[in-house]
Amino acid sequence: MWVFLGSDCLFFGSLIATYMVYRGQSLVGPYPVDIIDVPITTISTFVLLMSSFGMVQALSATIRNDQKAIQIWLLATAAMGAVFIGFQIYEFNAFKNEGLTLGANLFGASFFTLTGFHGAHVTLGVIWLLGLFVAARKGRLGPATSLDVEIMGLYWHFVDIVWIVIFTLLYLIGGFDAGPSVPPGG
């Protein structure tokens, strides 16, 4: 799993690099400053980060063999992940209504590709969590199988950490970018 995460680091590394290279290179609007809504995304970021807490609790419950708590925390983590996805769908939709599409400009292309792939990772994680939840309901999770939960946790925390990087770069730093810093052709 660690090796897979190493591989995924390079994957997001390349996507983030694409965004950074193209930052401020869009020729036409809308630009980040026009549409990025930092407060709303701060809320969803908070939810996602809290879900990591749920993940830790689920693992600890698995090691304690506390069946009730395993189910509660797995479901809570999945729910928080789903809330994050909900925010992202809302955000994508709002951006689209404001004219930012994949093909609109480089900002649109790199923004949607990067956050979209992150969203896909979260979605996959939610499905995986629900799968574990089903296993937990059947009583299959416990100290003997805690590695299953631990690996899930590694993945989940990784996806969270990637979001911290994305949020910092795309929203806190890049979110206030206006039009091209250099006029086209200059």
């Binding site: 090796v3 390079l10 590394g13 994949l102 292309a109 086209p184």
Partner: protein, 617 residues
């Protein structure tokens, strides 16, 4: 969900075609990889023949420029991604578990999935011929040639989507081998007691896992540009084609080492065996391999000297590229040191290994000559590059891999090929290879650019090109001889013993072909070249030869059961890619297919409940 697994009964036997399709046995998967790769090699070899036919004489019009572009694109892409890589994977599969004393790889079903993804990816790629929309932008497909305005048909979509499928396969396989090598070694086999081939596999797998995500991003961005209206690499939308070059070569240069390191590993097994002495400077070979693996990340800019990255970048990449030649040179001296004073037996695997060393030196030297950025400005995009890359990939990788084919042939099949035919194969390939590619050095320095489909008389390139084309015919005969050697060996080869070469590796201590469970008793490893240690001790005790490990009743050893989920998921994944090419509905169907496959997979225990044991562990 358990109902899904119950719908179709789990396959239980290894008999027939269905047995091959559901197999999770690393040896069978290795054979499948090998046969598929060699078949694809013949296809890509014929494409090379068309190229050489077209270039044989000036102002030739046998095929037009468009076909020519398709031919070199297909030839290169297939050879790199669908011949050399899977042929290496074939040896990873067959040899690694045997060489480290394990019963199988860590994730047998994942292993099967890797193979089926590779096969279906390769088939998807070749469907482009059936619909006559063939990729034609070269194997590195520089933007913005690859964008819709310049490449209207779906050829490039075929290219990028099948490479995505193949990439998934490679990453899954590489993860599997990293875990296998780290966790499943026999007791006593410390890292510095592993055979060199195992080491090189480990380094290659790490490179694969780290390099493929980068090309994946590039391919996704290209696919989105072509299908979803983004402008990642289109200047008119503000995009930058150079970004593609960076992404491609950040992957592409480690990829070069992914192609050559397994061959280096094989040669490091073959040379000691046929020199009857241990590898000279084992730790140096290992550490040079590691250094190559790390520095391979710091040299990608040498593919882009003429892009205009500026003098600082060019100087840095010149220096790093020249530095990486040092560990490579260290290895060559170690191989020569191994030969020194050995009692050398010139069997076919040894001939190929020696051919590898010789030709790789030539390719390595021309490589250093374009590490120097000023001289590269002259050589960029000429036949000098074509000569270089064929010396390292054909003279290097393919010769190394062929050495492995002959070396492990008796182990894989239990039969011996005919030495005479093996030698004919080697000499035809060796002579043909030099005849074809050596003149290209001179052509390149005389200014002949690569990827032109014809040239006029006045340039004076005609004679050397004709020579190269004649060389192709010799290579072609060599490949025919290769097929004859293999077929004859399979049909009428004499039975090979378990240890025909008096080799040092653990794989030679069990019978040929190995039983499904590999080792009845997991060996204890006391040092490097374990089987030589065992044999030396037997000799000291007055025994002349050590027999193969006796067979036991296979039912007493618990092996992973076959499964049909891997091939199912592979079909689904390929449909997803194929759907983007035709109808999105198909992608959707493929997605559902793959999803059901994943659920079935996770609900299936690794081994079927077994009457002999009564438990699942």
């Amino acid at each position: 969900m358990a109902a899904i697994t119950a719908v179709i009964p789990r396959p239980t036997s290894y008999a027939g075609v269905w047995g091959w399709m559901t197999t999770v046995d690393h040896k069978r998967i290795g054979v499948l990889y090998g046969l598929s790769a060699l078949t694809l090699m013949l296809i890509a070899g014929i494409e090379a023949g068309v190229i050489r036919m077209q270039l044989a004489s000036p102002d030739n019009g046998i095929i037009g420029g468009d076909r020519f572009n398709q031919m070199f694109t297909m030839h290169a892409t297939v050879m790199v991604f669908m011949v050399i890589m899977p042929l290496s994977a074939s040896f990873f599969n067959f040899v690694i578990p045997l060489a480290i004393g394990a019963r199988d790889v860590a994730f047998p079903r994942l292993n099967a999935l890797s193979y089926w993804l590779f096969l279906f990816g390769a088939i998807l790629f070749h469907v482009s011929f059936l619909v006559d929309e063939v990729p034609d932008a070269g194997w590195f497909s520089y933007a913005n040639l690859t964008e819709k305005p310049f490449s209207v048909n779906r050829g490039l979509d075929f290219w990028s989507l099948s490479l995505l499928v193949l990439g998934t396969s490679s990453v899954a396989a590489a993860l599997n081998f990293i875990v296998t090598i780290i966790n499943l070694r026999a007791p006593g086999m410390r890292l510095m007691r592993m055979p060199v081939f195992v080491w090189m596999t480990l380094i290659t797998s790490i490179l694969l896992v780290l390099a493929f995500p980068v090309i994946t991003v590039g391919l996704i961005e290209l696919t989105m540009d072509r299908n979803f209206g983004t402008h990642f690499f289109i200047p008119s939308g503000g995009g930058d084609p150079i970004l593609w070059q960076h992404l491609f070569w950040v992957f592409g240069h480690p990829e070069v080492y992914i192609l050559i390191l397994p061959a280096m590993g094989i040669v490091s097994e073959v040379l000691p065996t046929f020199s009857k002495k241990p590898l000279f400077g084992y730790p140096f070979i290992i550490f040079s391999g590691i250094v190559i693996g790390m520095m391979g990340w710091a040299v990608w800019g040498h593919h882009m000297f003429t892009v205009g990255l500026g003098p600082v970048a060019n100087s840095v990449f010149t220096i790093t590229t020249m530095l990486i030649a040092v560990p490579t040179g260290v290895k060559i001296f170690n191989w020569i040191g191994t030969l020194w004073g050995g009692s050398i037996e010139l069997k076919t695997p040894m001939l190929f290994a020696l051919g590898f060393v010789a030709l790789f030196i030539v390719g390595g030297l021309s490589g250093v000559s374009h590490a120097v950025s000023p001289s590269d400005f002259q050589q960029q995009d000429t036949y000098y590059i074509v000569a270089h890359l064929h010396y390292v990939l054909f003279g290097g990788s393919i010769f190394g891999l062929f050495s492995g084919v002959f070396y492990w042939f008796p182990k894989i099949t239990g039969k011996m090929y005919e030495e005479t035919w093996g030698k004919i194969t080697f000499w035809l390939l060796f002579i043909g290879m030099n005849l074809t590619f050596f003149p290209m050095h001179i052509l390149g320095l005389n200014g002949m650019p690569r990827r032109i489909y014809t040239y006029t008389q006045e340039y004076g390139w005609g004679d050397l090109n004709l020579l190269a084309s004649v060389g192709y015919i010799v290579i072609f005969l060599g490949m025919l001889a290769f097929v004859v050697t293999i077929v004859k060996g399979l049909r009428s080869g004499v039975r090979a013993g378990h240890d025909p070469w008096d080799a040092p590796g653990l794989e030679w201590s069990i019978s040929s072909p190995p039983p499904a469970y590999n080792f009845a008793e997991i060996p204890q490893v006391e040092g490097l070249d374990q089987y030589w240690i065992v044999k030396a001790r037997a000799k000291a005790d007055g025994q002349d030869r050590v027999p193969a490990e006796p067979a036991v009743d296979p039912n007493t050893i618990h092996m992973p059961s076959p499964s049909y989920w891997p091939i199912g998921i592979a079909v689904g994944t390929t449909l997803i890619a194929g759907g983007i090419l035709s109808h999105f509905a198909l992608s959707f169907v493929g997605g559902i297919f793959a999803f059901i496959g994943v659920i079935g997979w996770t609900n299936e225990p690794p081994t079927a409940p077994d009457p002999h044991h009564g438990s699942q562990h």
